[in-house]
C-alpha cells in the first residue's frame, strides 16, 4: 500500500523580533518510513539555525514511530541549543504529545502566529 509519503518544506519567516525563524512544514504521513526525509531535512539545516517551528497542519497520519522521529529531532536540537515549537496538531495529537511528555521539551500552539510569539 502506498502511504501518503512525507514531504517537508523548509521556509524562513520573520514574524518576530530577531533573526528569521525556520519553519519545517510537514505534509502527508509521518511514520517510520519518514526517517530519511525528516532526519535528512533537519540535518540539512544550517548550523546557524537556532529557532525552529514545526508545522503539522497538513499531516494526514502520525503514529508512534513518527512521534519517535520528532523526539529524535528534539534530542539533536537540544544538543545544538536550538529551540523548537510546534503548531497545527489536531486536538487528538496535542493530547498524545502531552501524554508522552513531549510538551516538556516543546510548546504546542494553535497556529503559526502563536508559535512565532513563543520566541519573543
Amino acid at each position: 500500500m502506498q502511504d501518503q509519503g512525507t514531504r517537508v518544506k523548509v521556509e524562513e519567516v520573520s514574524c518576530a523580533a530577531g533573526s528569521p525563524i525556520t519553519v519545517l512544514r510537514f505534509t502527508g504521513d509521518i511514520t517510520s518510513a519518514s526517517q530519511t526525509v525528516v532526519t535528512g531535512t533537519y540535518e540539512g539545516l544550517p548550523e546557524t539555525v537556532k529557532r525552529i517551528i514545526l508545522d503539522f497542519s497538513k499531516v494526514e497520519y502520525l503514529n508512534s514511530s513518527g512521534i519517535a522521529l520528532i523526539i529524535q529531532m528534539m534530542i539533536a536540537a537540544s544538543k545544538k541549543d536550538q529551540k523548537i515549537v510546534t503548531f497545527g496538531l489536531t486536538p487528538h495529537f496535542q493530547k498524545v504529545f502531552t501524554m508522552v511528555g513531549i510538551t516538556k521539551y516543546t510548546s504546542l500552539h494553535p497556529d503559526e502566529k502563536a508559535a512565532c510569539a513563543a520566541f519573543v
Binding site: A33, N63, I67, A68, I71, V96, M99, V100, G101
Partner: protein, 146 residues
Amino acid sequence: MSELNANSIELRLPSKLGYEKVAMNTAASVAKLMGFAEDRVEDLKTAVAEACINAMEHGNKMDDSLSVGVILSIVADSLEVKVTDTGDGPKHAQAAPDIDKKMHGEEDPRGMGMFLIQALVDEAEWVSSPPQGSYARMVIHLHRNA
C-alpha cells in the same frame, strides 16, 4: 477469542506497514456508525493502528506471508477490536514513556505503542494463545462508565 457473529467485521491484513490504516479507517467507520464522539473515534484510530503495527513488527516479524487479523465486534454499546498475529505476545507490560530518559539517550525514542493503546481505550489486554498466536484486545464504551 469470540466467535464472529452478525455484528462482527473481520479483516486480514498483510504484514506490511501502511496497511494498518485499512484497519484504522474501518474501525473509525464502525465507531462513527455506533455514534461515538469524534474524539473517541480519534482515540480508537490511534489505538488500532498501533496494535496492528505491533502485530506486524513484533508478532509477525514483518513476514509479509503472515497476516494480521482484525475483528471488530459490536457488543451492546461497546466496540471490541481484536488484533491477532502469529507471535507469542508481549512478555511484559510496557512502562509509560519517560521523556527525560528518551531525551538523554537512556530510553529508546520508540516503544510507545502499548502505552498509547492503554491510555486511549477503555479496556486493553494482550493474550498469548500458542500455538495459534496472540492477540491484543481493545474495547471502547459509548458511555465511559459502562
